[in-house]
Symmetry: C2
Subunit: 191 residues, 2 copies
DNA sequence: CTTCTGGTAGACTGGTCAGTCTAGTTGGAG
DNA sequence: CTCCAACTAGACTGACCAGTCTACCAGAAG
């Protein structure tokens, strides 16, 4: 029935776009969905619209929730960081990035909205979290938005670039590297 | 003559690839170079090879030299940071990133080499610079490579993502933001 | 003067692809 | 039973494009 078909199309499109970017052909997507090409066009007016839908889905996948009551600051950040790094630096996150980034100029409005609803929103929440810790006197007073931006940059700045350029990461384990980044970050915000 | 033509082809290809990514057609490139299509194929065996040449050029453009004798640490880093940010976050740097990143899977070897000779090399030099300052007792002892990686991440982590997603930066001036990042970074490495 | 090299214009091949169209099938609602 | 909506396979159009080919031209070297 209709909803299930739409779902299958979106799933097939997602995996196809992740693998080959916008280059994926509609024929290929229909084939992978086990569906006639016409069915794709029955649910989506054009390849572009299908792509936008997939893009929105992909973008939402990086969102990570922050547990609000931070009893142990370091522990809270660590938990967040591990998930965030896994989502953004994992094979799928990197593929998504590769797929979305080159198409931004053709979809500026959508792209901005996608950023705002994912990374932008996460900056906002992190900033709030930091502001709380600062108010409680557990962190040095600083611009919390700036702190949040630095935090995310440290977690997925150069490491993302490395992966985007297919550079294998050195031997350090994920857990160790993440902890190291957190400690480094906290040193900046110590009172 | 031959060398001049080759140059014009590369320049035209560069601006075309920057604008439309790998999608640019060879016809278009030849037209922009004011040259026959055959001339393009006279100098390059295929579009892929032309692309690789352009990619290598683009990658080298982010390289920034570091003055080796750091009398004033903050001043030295600031000078470096301003240029680095301008190169990586400027319109051209962002376009280059958008152009290169999606093609990495088709050119893994070349991509790795490009990373190594640009960003990788810069990490190496920065690390050396930091190591020197640590030896001189002007910075807290830390893993200098890790410090260099964090430094570059902070300079172009989230800000690059924002620009890649066409998110206009808030009102803060480049100079102010850069200085703020440097100060934040140095606080981590204070003795 | 001839020959060779690097250049020109532009036609052509073979392939891919978005999107449309035709003609027919199936399953559920009335 | 009939009708309709969603589906199917597959042919088709029009566009684009990498790469080749033909036929021609200009200038420098011998």
């Amino acid at each position: 029935m209709t909803v299930a078909h739409r779902e299958r199309v979106v799933r097939a499109a997602t995996s196809s776009f992740l693998a080959h970017g916008y280059r994926s052909s509609v024929d290929e997507i229909a084939r992978r969905a086990g569906v006639a090409k016409q069915t794709v066009y029955h649910h989506f007016p054009s390849k572009d619209e299908l792509f936008k839908e997939v893009a929105r889905d992909l973008t939402q996948r990086v969102m990570v929730e922050l547990e609000s009551p931070p009893q142990d600051l370091r522990e809270g950040l660590l938990r967040f960081a591990l998930v965030y790094r896994q989502r953004t630096l994992g094979a799928q996150g990197i593929s998504a990035f590769r797929t979305l980034v080159p198409e931004v100029p053709r979809f500026r409005g959508v792209a901005r909205a996608m950023y705002a609803s994912s990374v932008g929103e996460m900056v906002r929440r992190l900033a709030e979290w930091f502001a709380g810790a600062m108010d409680a006197g557990r962190l040095r007073r600083e611009d919390p938005v700036f702190a949040a931006e630095m935090f995310l940059s440290m977690l997925a700045g150069l490491d993302r670039v490395k992966r985007l350029f297919s550079v294998s990461d050195e031997a350090e384990s994920e857990a160790r590297r993440t902890a190291r980044i957190i400690d480094c970050f906290l040193r900046m915000l110590e009172k």
